[in-house]
Amino acid sequence: MSEGFVRFSSGDLASIAPEAVLAGMGCVILLLEAFVPSARRWFATLSLAAIAGSLYFLIRAPLVPTFGGRYDTSTLSVLVGLFLGASAVLTILVAKPYLERAGEEKGEFYALLLWGHLGVSLMTRGLDLLIVFIGLETLSLAFYVLASFFRTVEASSEAGLKYFLTGSFASAFTLFGVVLLFGQSGGTKIEGLARPGLASDPTVAFGILLLFVGFGFKMSLAPFHAWAPDVYQGMPTPAVAYLSVAPKGASVLVLYRVLAAVFAGGMPDRFRTGVAALAILSMTLGNVVALAQRDIKRLLAYSGIAHMGYVAIALVVFGRDALAAVIVYFFAYLVSNIGAFAAVSALYRDETKPHPVALLAGDGRRAPFPSAVLALCLFSLAGIPATAGFIGKFFLFKAAIERGLYALALIGVLNSLVSIGYYLKVVYMLYMREPLEEEAPPPLASADQLALGLCAAGILALGIFPGSLWELARRAADNLPLAGP
């Protein structure tokens, strides 16, 4: 206890101000919900203010680790914090009109979202596996509830239960992994894993394997993906938008941190092979199964599984440029994927019913703006140049080829070819089919418009001017002890 885990310094407190704001605002919103129901229409604004405040404190915080080296403030965690904050802002913008349409504008949604966001922040800033685990659990608990937010809808309850059961299973794996690493390194700090000899220790290897199960689950990396389609389908769309982006990014960062500590001297080949197998499995399974999907949320779930396969390539490459590439990739994925879910939220009338792709027929003419943004997002997810998605793949594949992983890169691009099949299926519905239903999509709320506009602008801006983000990401990647591409 001599490191001062209990006694905080003022610097320690300043460094957790971003998370404190989120926790506090969550409580305020819940109290308002209980005692001042008329304040409901301000919840979204309050949540946005909380995110803004949290980002403000994050940017202002001095770039030194606090709590005795257990809590990180660095270019890396600030950049990732901006990524998470952007996900949360877009999610809230989508959530407000969505909940209004569904007649469920309750404070719980925003409070849980903020707490979930708090959990993800802890995951990305924790340099101690226990903090990371607490973050993971905070996130999970909040989203178990959000999954079953539509209490009266069977699919939503099913999603909640499924997510809870499989999620607690995965958390148990994570915790067991943490315990094993603790046992071998004598502490829970990630940097303690850098002790010589640990890299070849079988118990450590097993511990990392268990972490892969736990965080692979959060990433929806095959074969730990099975929950995603069902949960995506039943969960409120804005919550899915957040869940499909932010926690995945955070999980990759955690894995990168742990691996960078353990394998400071380079990743052993058997590990590389194992992660490469996961990447190939995830890409291929996600893309092939997505081809057969009829529900847009399930389709996007499988597309997400495939994308995590691409991301896993960066873990195989395991180098400085690969980490920078994966950061750029996640920024691209943020605007593309949340944009796609924002469009889905804006285009479907009945929130609690399934979302068949066929219902989009003819929407290109009936709802031109959300349809155009959806098409743009899908082209970006497919990796067509001049969009953000291409830039993400560009840096990722560049790193892979630099490391000599030709086969993996080849499998990756062949997979993007497969993915064109289902992304274009949606575009085809939007623009090349006559409408199925008389009723047009609901009128577009201004918050929806803003979210869609931001995502579209982000996709094009990042796709056309990727230079500065790449530089930032490279500087951020310097924070981990990584070598090579």
């Binding site: 630099e402 070819l417 099949g421 085809y428």
Partner: protein, 507 residues
């Protein structure tokens, strides 16, 4: 301002269409027709802006002219670097001519979603022009892929009955080739980094690399495959008849006129000088595939009952000829291939346009549904005949120049028999094209409804006349084109020869 514009002439030409497309986005739905006029004006302005490229181009220089360079992703040496040489110049002009021609034709024929159609066309134009002027491999790849999306929409939304299938096939075929090229581009740039310690995607830097053995073969194949699919070289051509048949007329004009040429262009610009050894090694294969394309395309064209499919297969045959010229790789055959690309763009563009004219009146492209309409629509007939004669290489029209040069140059190369086969292709093209003219325009008039066929409209006629004038001009004064092309042909041959010498020296 004028100085600024002329310093960035290439960028103005490339991005004017997209700027116009962005402007069209702001047009309200009620002003759809005005959007069409605006698109026409924008493409005409692009044409006007591209004319100084032609007049100010200095044929005595062999390098790139009108250069512009700006950093894009500096830490990876990726730059916005553009410029034109003779090879790209003629294709840029072809693009800026064919785009307003297609839009002009569409004025009276595209009724649905006019605004979207115009936007897709203008973005497509930027994609094509950008691919032609890009001197940075990453930049080239971006433009190259950007072309796919608007063309997918043009076929998929405004196309015929099987448009969805055709659009998807077009997208997947072209994409599969380019993805392999994407990896090859990354590999080449990484090799440059390894060799020199600095990053660059600039073409002129990468030209200096030499690859050997299997590596070169694999890289060459990855590049060549992407371009061969686009051309398309037999047996990768199967997407083309579908795409052409289903695409709206304007889409077919651009597809045949420019998009296919980009395959040949890419091969000459990138695959040849980057991998000279492999391209010389594979040249016989290329030539043989070209010969097969010429003969096979001609026979299949002859068997078609659908006019548009016939013209589409004639493209396979004609581009086979171009491929032979590139494969032979003599100065004359290479110049001939480049000229022939322009010629094919003009003549096939005109043929698609005139087939479109007939289709819009009878809503069928079956050859048997016509016959004897020469007396009913004499102007259409005359224009069609000129386009046909240009296509089959009648002296005095453009087609002759290109075909003659290709045959001559190929005869002078070690692969004499290709010239023989190519010459049969020329004869065969006369057979199927003249048969088409006979069956559609001459033969006795059998269908009553053809008696009242309306004559070509002014807008359609202007569109077609532009092409006819250019056919005659090139036919009479081919030197205007040749002198501009010659410099770049020499430069390309020299760089290939030098690299081969250097590579031999290394071994």
């Amino acid at each position: 301002m004028a100085g600024l514009l002329s310093d960035h002439l290439v960028s103005v030409v490339v991005f004017l269409p997209t700027a116009g497309a962005a402007l069209l986005l702001l047009f309200p739905r009620a002003l759809e027709r005005q959007a069409r006029t605006a698109a026409l004006v924008i493409s005409a302005a692009t044409l006007a802006a591209s004319i100084p490229l032609w007049t100010r181009f200095d044929p005595s220089q062999t390098g790139f002219q009108f250069r512009e360079k700006a950093d894009w992703i500096p830490s990876l040496g990726i730059s916005y670097s553009v410029g034109v040489d003779g090879l790209s110049l003629v294709l840029v002009l072809l693009t800026t001519v064919l785009t307003p021609v297609s839009l002009l034709f569409s004025v009276s024929h595209v009724e649905r979603e006019i605004r979207g159609f115009s936007i897709a066309f203008l973005v497509l134009e930027t994609g094509m022009l950008g691919s032609l002027v890009a001197l940075d491999l990453a930049l080239f790849y971006v433009f190259w892929e950007v072309m796919l999306v608007p063309m997918y929409f043009i076929i998929g939304i405004w196309g015929g009955a099987r448009r969805i299938y055709a659009a998807m096939k077009f997208f997947l075929f072209t994409m599969s080739g380019s993805l392999l090229m994407f990896l090859a581009i990354l590999y080449v740039a990484i090799r440059y980094h390894v060799a020199t310690g600095s990053w660059s995607f600039a073409l002129e830097d990468l030209y200096r690399l030499s690859f050997t053995g299997t590596t070169e073969t694999i890289l060459f194949v990855a590049f060549a495959l992407a371009f061969a699919i686009k051309v398309p070289v037999f047996p990768l051509h199967t997407w083309l008849p579908d795409a052409h048949t289903e695409a709206p007329t304007a889409g077919s004009i651009i597809l045949a006129g420019v998009l296919l040429k980009l395959g040949v262009y890419g091969y000459i610009r990138f695959a040849l000088p980057l991998f000279p050894d492999a391209s010389i090694r594979f040249a016989p294969w290329l030539g043989v595939l070209g010969v097969i394309g010429v003969v096979y395309g001609a026979f299949v064209a002859y068997a078609q009952r659908d006019m548009k499919r016939l013209v589409a297969y004639s493209s396979v045959s004609h581009l086979g000829l171009v491929v032979i010229g590139v494969g032979a790789f003599t100065t004359i055959s290479l110049s001939g291939s480049i000229i022939q690309m322009v010629n094919h763009g003009l003549s096939t563009g005109a043929l698609f346009l005139l087939v479109g004219v007939l289709y819009e009146r009878r809503h069928t492209r079956e050859i048997d549904a016509y016959g004897g309409i020469a007396a009913v629509v004499p102007v259409t007939t005359a224009l069609f005949l000129i386009a046909t004669l240009s296509s089959i290489g009648l002296p005095g029209l453009n087609g002759f120049v290109g075909e003659w040069l290709i045959l001559l140059g190929t005869w002078a190369s070690p692969h004499r028999w290709w010239a023989v086969a190519a010459a049969t292709g020329v004869i065969l093209s006369a057979v199927y094209m003249l048969t088409l003219v006979q069956r559609v325009f001459w033969n006795p008039l059998q269908h009553e409804e053809n008696r009242t066929l309306s004559e070509i409209r002014p807008t359609e006629m202007i569109a077609a006349s532009v092409l006819v004038v250019l056919m005659v001009w090139i036919g009479v004064r081919p030197n205007d084109l040749l002198e501009r092309v010659r410099g770049s042909v020499d430069a390309i041959q020299q760089s290939v020869a030098q690299k081969q010498l250097a590579a031999r020296g290394l071994r």
